[in-house]
């Protein structure tokens, strides 16, 4: 049985910070099919299109019929832990520091037997549920969980290596003036974050929800304006070394397309707040996040981007705004590569129209800020990298997979 996570002791400010190490992360191009599934929290294996054989590890030819048609498909993740062992010594620097480490063989109901990392509550001979997780190197690994939830299972030491659980971590919400930022602050407070720093720009400007925000216990309001390089640098200088999860909630949603904008004033604000804002946060907080990727139980663990799903396909009704979102999406991919050496994940949460002021005239379905916040917290608890929250985001994702050109035309037709 897992023990509840103990509140980490305050760090000795005189102690050396141990540098992050990564497990071996090289994968074949085909094997990144597992990475793609792990990033979204799916369990997928190759299934031979010709003979139906379920394969593991990933291959380029079916070992049964030699077919090269081996698409990844979502598979029943249930099976039995048929053998386990505990590794006590390793020459690998990453595992060496984390010994002992349990691994075992899972016989999947779907066919293959797979060597996996084991959650502490799994028992040899018992049923387990296999998951694909992104380890600190960002590549997919197999991780077996007990078939049923167990108390405090989130606190398992190995599991915490794979996830970005906010519990006892210190979170920075970059903009608490808007509904999403406030919902996010509350969700992280409820998820057990030890401190939730909430950035407020232009503190002389009152905003709705201010009193409530200031009254939530682990929330600490801090001056932060993502459009002001000096302000971002100042907060990073003061608090950068004790922020484990950064959630960029700065938004600037305005309807209108490229021609309709008329000039660059609003477009500049969009780029300044969204793209440059993200860049300022990454430049100011990124180095400390990357440096602190193995800094104990509350190590630095994630940078969260909130992205309109129209970063993936422009929605001309909000066309200029969609373009700024696309810039952020591209930057997030770069940031992933830059933070990966520290074992720090970049979570992209995609969503459609929100139940907020700037989508006032957009018909439902719309996503409540609180639902988005819950989904982000859940994704961090699960260690995911890409989530599509709400009906519109999921619909856009599916249509992108099937016929992106049709999606482009349909989004542009009304």
């Amino acid at each position: 049985m897992s023990e509840p996570l103990a509140r980490p002791r305050r760090k000795n400010p005189l102690a050396r910070t141990r540098l992050p190490l990564l497990p071996q992360g090289a994968r074949s191009r085909t094997a990144h099919g597992l990475t793609a599934a792990a990033a979204e929290g799916r369990f997928a294996l190759q299934v031979c299109a010709d003979c139906g054989h379920v394969l593991y590890p990933p291959r380029d030819a079916c070992p049964r019929c030699l077919s090269a048609k081996l698409p990844f498909k979502n598979i029943d993740p249930n099976g039995r832990l048929i053998a386990e062992t505990t590794v006590r010594i390793s020459t690998d620097r990453y595992f060496h520091e984390r010994m002992p480490w349990r691994i075992g063989t899972v016989q999947l109901d779907a066919g293959p037997a797979i060597v996996a990392h084991l959650h502490g509550d799994t028992v040899e001979g018992e049923r387990v549920r296999l998951t694909l997780k992104l380890d600190k190197s960002g590549s997919a690994v197999m991780f077996a969980l007990p078939a049923q939830e167990t108390p405090h299972m989130q606190a398992d030491r190995h599991w915490r290596e794979m996830t970005c659980d906010p519990q006892y971590r210190r979170v920075l919400i970059s903009d608490g003036r808007n509904a999403v930022g406030q919902a996010m602050a509350k969700a992280f407070a409820e998820a057990g974050a030890s401190t939730v720093f909430v950035g407020i720009a232009d503190p002389w400007k009152p905003f709705p929800g201010e009193a409530e925000l200031r009254n939530i216990a682990p929330i600490e309001v801090v001056p932060l304006d993502v459009t002001d390089t000096a302000s971002v640098a100042e907060l990073a200088a003061q608090n950068g070394g004790r922020i484990d999860i950064l959630v960029n909630t700065a938004e600037h949603v305005r309807p209108g397309g490229i021609i309709e904008r008329g000039n660059l004033s609003v477009a500049r604000e969009e780029i300044d707040i969204r793209y440059f804002g993200m860049m300022r946060l990454a430049q100011a907080f990124g180095p400390a996040l990357r440096f602190r990727g193995a800094d104990g139980v509350n190590s630095a663990t994630a940078f969260v981007n909130l992205l309109s799903v129209h970063a993936l396909m422009n929605w001309p009704a909000y066309g200029a705004s969609s373009a700024a979102e696309a810039a952020c999406l591209s930057a997030s991919q770069c940031l992933r590569a830059e933070l990966r050496p520290g074992g720090v994940k970049v979570l992209n949460a995609f969503f459609g129209p929100l139940e907020t002021e700037w989508y006032q005239t957009v018909p439902p379905p719309k996503l409540a800020p609180a639902a988005l916040a819950r989904a982000v917290v859940a994704a961090l608890q699960d260690g995911l990298e890409d989530i599509f929250v709400g009906d519109i985001a999921q619909d856009v994702r599916e249509r992108l997979n099937t016929n992106p050109k049709a999606l482009e035309r349909e989004l542009g037709s009304h």
Partner: protein, 260 residues
């Protein structure tokens, strides 16, 4: 018989401190409040600065910055072209205003007591007449500067934002029209974020300091500070905006020359 002014004596008086130079300018900084418009309108950019280099790899021996700023950010000058009522006047933009207009005397109306407990204090004709009874008539070509001590407020209180908009003192419509037509003033200057009162949107006409002053080719100054160091009369204001092609205004350094 007119005597030629002795400019060297003037320079010496400044150097020796016989003439004091008072800086009426707020520091341009990212934190200083910028005017707030409804979010569907275009917004005035706040002051922002990006370091180009600071004796480092980006430029080893020199420190310099790029900055961005709106024409109406911080202590700034309003040209007549800023308002629709002044849009067709000659020499109405910061680059075409004759440079002699950038130096003018000032009448400083002290409303600090009246505004202390009343953010919606409105300047009226009787108030100015009472001031004139004490200090003499406002000379033609004078800046009229409204001292409210608003520059001493915290950033939170300075713009006076409440759930029904901004609350800061300013002039009523009648007095602005009267200052222009009956006193032929040079312009109107305030310590607050604009030349008009916070609630001037509800006046008739809305924003009278803008409407009447700029409609008659007069100028505006706002976000001034240290007006409490100026005499009611006798100060000379030096306020030259940046020479921006067809600019509607600009941040600037405002100096007051005062007899020590």
């Amino acid at each position: 018989m007119t005597t030629t002014p002795d400019l060297l004596a003037f320079a010496n008086a400044i150097a020796s401190g016989t003439i004091r130079v008072i800086d009426l300018t707020q520091t341009l900084s990212p934190e200083f409040p910028t005017i707030v418009l409804p979010p569907e309108f275009g917004q005035c950019a706040p002051f922002r600065m990006e370091e180009i280099s600071r004796y480092d790899a980006r430029g080893p021996a020199w420190y310099w910055n790029n900055f961005t700023v709106g024409e109406h950010t911080g202590t700034h000058f309003d040209a007549p072209i800023h308002w629709v009522s002044g849009k067709d006047l000659p020499d109405n933009a910061v680059d075409t205003i004759p440079p002699a207009k950038f130096i003018a005397p000032a009448a400083v109306l002290d409303c600090s007591k009246e505004a202390a407990d009343n953010a919606d204090f409105i300047l009226t004709i009787p108030f100015v007449e009472a001031w004139e009874a004490k200090h003499g008539r406002i000379e033609a070509g004078s800046w009229v500067l409204l001292r409210t001590d608003w520059s001493k407020k915290s950033y939170a209180d300075y713009p006076g934002l409440r759930d029904d908009g901004a609350h800061t003192p300013g002039p009523g419509p009648e007095v602005v029209k009267w200052l222009v037509e009956e006193r032929d003033v040079h312009g109107f200057g305030t310590e607050t974020i604009g030349t008009d009162a916070g609630q001037a949107h509800h006046f008739n006409p809305p924003y009278p300091a803008h409407f009447y002053m700029h409609g008659k080719g007069r100028y505006g100054l706002q976000c001034l500070t240290r007006l409490d160091q100026l005499p009611p009369k006798g100060a000379v204001i030096v306020a030259a905006p940046l020479k921006i092609k067809q600019g509607s205004g600009s941040p600037l350094r405002v100096l007051a020359l005062v007899k020590a």
